[in-house]
């Protein structure tokens, strides 16, 4: 009998809670007792409607926010703050408008003191990965939304992070571009495997991409509702019976229109 080796735990969140003090002097309880584990090279999707705390959870894993209680571990070591071992892709792209595509993607390596020729090679490699070879000298304002997000992905990848974190990266794209980017995401991920935590509010996107889906409650404070392993072979079809069955199951369990 085949014994599969136990996958390593890459990210571990233990009893994370987060309470924000808003500018209007109000306390907002965003997350309550979140515990989850993400395994090496796994593609995990956190699925939830707006205002469910999922972005906050991602930012805590990224180290941009610190949890009010609970801890986050990466490779067994506690996360203390932001760092290049985690790459973050933002919903609104957040490219530096004053830098070219090259300037944006090379930012991580540049901050680490890598030489100019090395940086060029790195950038060329990752631009090819996301399909934007030849666009080095373009400025962000000259690119379409999909292209900008691909630059964002290349920029995060270029730093060779252990984990890729994506915060509703395709939320600002139209439906067609979104489908295209989902396919591209799978292709990129299969070419350069990384642990991925992907946040979205779109159930089809979640089932298309994920190895595992973690659903959040629809109201604050955010809690984990359920976990769904997705064992469908890739590339997946939105019209596949198994796909639709899982979709139905998740929708009924959540009692929400996702």
């Amino acid at each position: 009998m085949e014994i599969r080796p136990q996958p390593r735990v890459k990210i571990s969140c233990q009893h994370i809670s987060k309470i924000f003090i808003q500018k209007g002097k109000m306390k907002v309880h965003v997350l309550e007792d979140i515990s989850l584990e993400v395994y090496d090279n796994e593609f995990v999707v956190i699925l939830g409607p707006g205002q469910s705390g999922k972005t906050t959870l991602l930012r805590i894993i990224a180290g941009l926010e610190s949890p009010t209680s609970g801890r986050v571990f990466l490779n067994g070591e506690e996360v203390q703050g932001p760092g290049p071992d985690r790459g973050l892709v933002f919903q609104s792209y957040m490219l530096f408008p004053w830098r070219t595509v090259l300037g944006n993607v090379e930012m991580g390596p540049r901050l680490r003191g890598i030489s100019k020729e090395e940086r060029r090679k790195i950038v060329a490699h990752y631009l090819e990965l996301v399909g934007l070879t030849g666009y080095e000298k373009y400025y962000p304002h000259q690119l379409s939304g999909g292209m900008k997000q691909r630059v964002g992905i290349a920029r995060a990848y270029a730093n060779n992070p252990e984990v890729m974190l994506l915060d509703e990266p395709f939320g600002q794209l139209d439906a067609q571009t979104r489908y295209y980017m989902e396919k591209e995401t799978v292709r990129i991920w299969e070419q350069e495997k990384r642990t991925v935590i992907f946040v979205t509010n779109n159930i089809d996107e979640a089932i298309y991409l994920a190895d595992r889906i973690i659903t959040m409650e629809g109201k604050l404070p955010g809690r984990i509702k359920a976990v769904y392993p997705v064992n469908l072979p890739r590339p997946r079809e939105h019209t596949d019976i198994a796909f639709l069955k899982l979709r139905q199951e998740i929708i009924e369990a959540s009692k929400l229109l996702l």
Binding site: P84, R86, L88, F96, M107, L111, Y139, Q142
Partner: protein, 266 residues
Amino acid sequence: MFKAFGKVLRNEFSLYVISFFCFLLLWDWVAKEQILGRSLAPPLDVLKELHRLTTVKLAGKDLFGHIWDSTRRVFIGFAIAAVFAVPLGLLMALNRYINALVKPVFDIFKPMPPIAWISIAILWFGIEEASKIFIIVIGAFIPCLLNAYNGVRLIEPELYDVIRMLGGTRRAEIFYVSFPAAFPAIFSGLQISLSIAWTCVLAAELVSSRSGLGWIIIQGMRLTRPDLVIGGMAIIALVAWLTTLLISGLERLICPWKRGIKEGYL
């Protein structure tokens, strides 16, 4: 025939041309008929006088000499103001303690129009160059500082997140995000400062000066030479406009990413 006429009237550019010529004709007529007394000189007279001044000297300088005097004052004052105000504005936005120290004093001085300082400037520096440059510095200082300050304060906070996730320290945040993001605002502050600087130099020259474009206008008034008055006004407008173009050109060079964004009604 009327259709053609109607078409001309609807074309914007031809309207500009017609309107401009009507304006010139009106000006010429009002000047010659002395409807506003002897205050206006006909356009051609103004041009002739300006041409004359390029060769004949007025109070020791020809027209270009006066233009240079005014422009020189503007640039010196403007440069001094920018060199101190922009870094200070950036520092205030980046450091809470410097902000707490400087802002209260700044807020006290902010509502005072720079020209109100002319009298104090004359008390302190007499009527030499220093007093004029002083006023220009005072006038140009505030917009430069304010724009640098706001340029940093209004940066999208998530851009700092990006740098931190890529492994940047606070230093990296400042050099790679705060400074470049503030450039467009700094440039628009420079433009505003520049036009205030021109107003200040004019005011200073009108009050107490022996050369410069403002002085030409005042001479025109004292000698009842309307051609000098209007000529001076026209040259000032021209030179001020050219310096504006200079800053715009500089901005386009340093901030090429702004080319995609249109501003105003142009």
